[in-house]
Symmetry: D2
Subunit: 344 residues, 4 copies
Amino acid sequence: MERKIKVGVIGVGRIGKLHAENLIAHFPNVEVKSVADPFIDNSKAWADNVGIKHTYKDYKEILNDFEIDVVLICSSTDTHADISIEAAKTGKHIFCEKPIDLTVEKIDKALSAVEKAGVKFQVGFNRRFDHNFKKVKEIVKDGRIGDVQILKITSRDPAPPPAEYVKVSGGIFLDMTIHDFDMARYLSGSEVEEVYVTGAVLVDPAIGEAGDIDTAIISLKFENGAIGVIDNSRKAAYGYDQRIEVFGSKGKVLVSNDTDTSAIISTEEGVFSDKPKYFFLERYQGSFREEMKEFFNAIIENKETPVVAKDGLKPVLIGLAAKKSFQEGRPVKIKEIEEEYSSK
Amino acid sequence: MERKIKVGVIGVGRIGKLHAENLIAHFPNVEVKSVADPFIDNSKAWADNVGIKHTYKDYKEILNDFEIDVVLICSSTDTHADISIEAAKTGKHIFCEKPIDLTVEKIDKALSAVEKAGVKFQVGFNRRFDHNFKKVKEIVKDGRIGDVQILKITSRDPAPPPAEYVKVSGGIFLDMTIHDFDMARYLSGSEVEEVYVTGAVLVDPAIGEAGDIDTAIISLKFENGAIGVIDNSRKAAYGYDQRIEVFGSKGKVLVSNDTDTSAIISTEEGVFSDKPKYFFLERYQGSFREEMKEFFNAIIENKETPVVAKDGLKPVLIGLAAKKSFQEGRPVKIKEIEEEYSSK
Amino acid sequence: MERKIKVGVIGVGRIGKLHAENLIAHFPNVEVKSVADPFIDNSKAWADNVGIKHTYKDYKEILNDFEIDVVLICSSTDTHADISIEAAKTGKHIFCEKPIDLTVEKIDKALSAVEKAGVKFQVGFNRRFDHNFKKVKEIVKDGRIGDVQILKITSRDPAPPPAEYVKVSGGIFLDMTIHDFDMARYLSGSEVEEVYVTGAVLVDPAIGEAGDIDTAIISLKFENGAIGVIDNSRKAAYGYDQRIEVFGSKGKVLVSNDTDTSAIISTEEGVFSDKPKYFFLERYQGSFREEMKEFFNAIIENKETPVVAKDGLKPVLIGLAAKKSFQEGRPVKIKEIEEEYSSK
Amino acid sequence: MERKIKVGVIGVGRIGKLHAENLIAHFPNVEVKSVADPFIDNSKAWADNVGIKHTYKDYKEILNDFEIDVVLICSSTDTHADISIEAAKTGKHIFCEKPIDLTVEKIDKALSAVEKAGVKFQVGFNRRFDHNFKKVKEIVKDGRIGDVQILKITSRDPAPPPAEYVKVSGGIFLDMTIHDFDMARYLSGSEVEEVYVTGAVLVDPAIGEAGDIDTAIISLKFENGAIGVIDNSRKAAYGYDQRIEVFGSKGKVLVSNDTDTSAIISTEEGVFSDKPKYFFLERYQGSFREEMKEFFNAIIENKETPVVAKDGLKPVLIGLAAKKSFQEGRPVKIKEIEEEYSSK
């Protein structure tokens, strides 16, 4: 057997653990050598159980380990950029959870560091690897539905986050809609030019008090002339609602929610079927495995990763434009945000 | 048998004929006594065949017939208001096809005349009587999905109208979206407060040259705090696409397209099912009958019609706001349009 | 206008009334001149309301009316054959509800009389004209699914008939399954060669006490080599269940139940959709109109009716074979039944 | 970490490899210590790659290894019974692929040996662990659809096996339908009392020449009074068709095929969706993992396995009854087969 790729996972909350477990179960060529987390004591039993030998409080232990080839940055958002910069300096390939940062400045710095170091870098926009959305992309690309004219994304969470979280989340557009902005760019094959937000606080007043909204309709104008709309809610009573429709000159393609079973029950009361899979861990289970697969393939075959640095930046710019649109009650061009930052 | 209600149909194009035939086939208490149309010669064989005895070139023949209780105004849009005013003066009950007019002034005049005369008046927003949309209304009203938060309407035609028609149509918002504006008010149970349009010419450049657009996403803000979005296209390759989704605090209800059959064919090539019913005559067939039924019930039982005068005005105001929003690239409040007109 | 075809309806129970109303509403070339029924007093108000002028107790009044061109025989099953024979003698075209009779002898006599008289004759197997089943037929005929190999029919009623009715009904196979036997012949394009019944009394013990069963699986062998299965229940808690699947060498086609609306409601409790249309009057509404249309077309264009005499006989033979199969616990060939009768 | 359960896999064809890989990826408490196969040379690279250390030609090497706690018997059907007997003698727990044998005698012997040894024994009826079918079982058990009255199984393969295989397969009923017989028992909660087969050779004449059939409708009578039907084809042009419907006194539950995506594509040509997942490895992927999980749970918690010895015997008896029914053209009781064997 060839030498395995050695991986260190920085941050082993829910998503860090998930990536580690996927690598252990499905990637015979990859070894998860070590994990680091400020609260590592809580995760030692887990690490032991899945067979990870080294556990650290300080992520620098991983960066200083010359044997480690790859780091997965799954720590809190505010640390992504800094750790990326340090990791790039040590020459390690980087998988970084989204978003890279909530500010354009720090994203720019991180991306420069990565570019300079010449390491592989992939952002955790896992939905690109979802079976349903990949199929949409494929059909759009094949030209089966012609030129894209209207793109529609429905993205609703089953339950709102606590107001405490909302305060540090960067707001709904950088925390939740950012995935949808990535999808919009990915599926349309075009950059977003302008956004307009109609938003409201309808789910939880505490979210409004925290300065955010919980319900939104975001209109999009793409550079290629297409238009689009995203609708978000922080709380869908029936569960996680993730649907996409692309309408083109020759037809449309539509994907809907996955369910646990195909059971349809008919009784005197009516006809019943399954609710959507509960939340992102269930619905996007396969996509997390796929994104790892393509990331390691890019490393092994020394080719571009499927979600490059620019893909980490653009959705943040759109998110900032959306925020401004809502605050000022007018359409905002992405260029306006870019110029604002470049002039700084 | 009691005396039948006697009806005159003014304008026997496609929709006038449809109403007449429905009355003849399904309303034993109603007699279609006469029809009038500037091109009546083209319709004489039809009238003879369905058993209508009197055919006129001039609609005034109908208005002057004291025996006639009810007129259906199915002539060209620019004549709706004037004929409504004249008909009201003769004391006849009025069913008027949508829109009443393309201008607020003429609508106001017509509605005043109707009010003054105390006759029944119903506008032809037939979609309210569609089996699917009625069910949505019912579920919203019952509170099964809680308070309305997001309302989504997809409304796409199978083929664009000729550019000649587009020029006199009043534009996509008064010609096509007007039905969706009515649906939005009807299903949300609230007035629209503000609209914002993202539009494009993607179907036919001739439509653009005629000063109109053919593809649009219209964001809506309702007075009750809900938000909404309508997406329109003048051409869906797969046919007439008419779907509505209402999302509320306790769930959602979604209706999709009707098809001719439930057949699902599975072969080596894939799994195939029916396209939507071709166009509005097929899809809304039942709704045209239902709107007549409720109109004549209102007359017989002397109660309010289900689509009153105000329902004829409001969608036009929203349409005019949408037009302005697109032209000026900003959200426009309905009040702005109202004030504009009241200040004249 | 040409002279209208004059029709007399014999028997104005539920189905006779339905045919009369359809003719009045949708067939401008047809006049329902008179109706006859032993209990005509109960139907006089109805006749008056829909505009039928002549009402009789005795159906002979209709047969003796030289003006009448066509009779619809919608009386009780035991009278179908005799009235058909009498009507054929007067030269009137005949539409006869199914089944022609419960005995082969009387069907044979009726069919001979019809043939001798040279009048049109159509049996009321309305399901052939159902939009879904017609589509299945079309696809089978087109060869899109190749040679038919397996045919499956699910046919379940929403509620069992009273035991009193069961006693005179001829049993489930002649009363209920007879429609499915017709479908089997129609869709496979082949005669049934042999049947085998697995049956049970699971719905209502009174049905068992009346000498009948209420739940059955009927295996079919067709002359062309295909095989098939029908499953019946007298009571489906969720309503009328009418589905058909044809599986062939190149694929399958499947039609399912019609519903009143396409509404899908998602709440915390689950995802809900409509139950099937309640019963045959709702589900097969369109088919009753279509069968009339094709019957009168056959008369007007002097061509063969779409459901000929033989189509009235064969399902009865299959029903008798099914009865014998259940009683004797063995597969029974249709030929065995035929020979039994021809040897009498 | 506790001592891992040590497993030997006997036979590493497609299914043996699948089980080994599932254990390695998802069962941290289990170690696949060794594998044996007469053609082990073909599988050495695979074993090395997934990290299995010991590979043998002779399965006795596994049986003689005192460290091994559990064997998975995935060799050819004719060896299942003998190896089970030998393994039982060494005190190892046994997972045995279906069927245990094609003859009742050898199954009886194997089951006696297992019982005597007191080891755990589970037969590879993986479909019981399929997400869809488990849900059906759950709903039936909960009483949501009342008492089971009709059970319907559709089970069609995407492509027929080679005639060579057919000759040694034991025939369609023991090779293919055996899974459906298991499902019938499992879902109805009752034993099958009688079967009747309507069969045909419609897919491949070579199958007929090999003495088998390729298309069948199998009627079932259950001991609890319910009835059922299975339809089989060796070749569905559109792929693997696996659907089940259970109809009861209070309603029905129906599960249909899984697909790779939920994509619906609408174009001028029609509306298209995914074909079913290709074959059993794709469709039943999850079920193979689940059956291992429940098997090892039974070992760890020292409780009864979910598919016990009797569950290995009964479907073979039903299969033999089905064979006889087809050969003799009559319904055959399971008791008849049992008595035949017990009298030997």
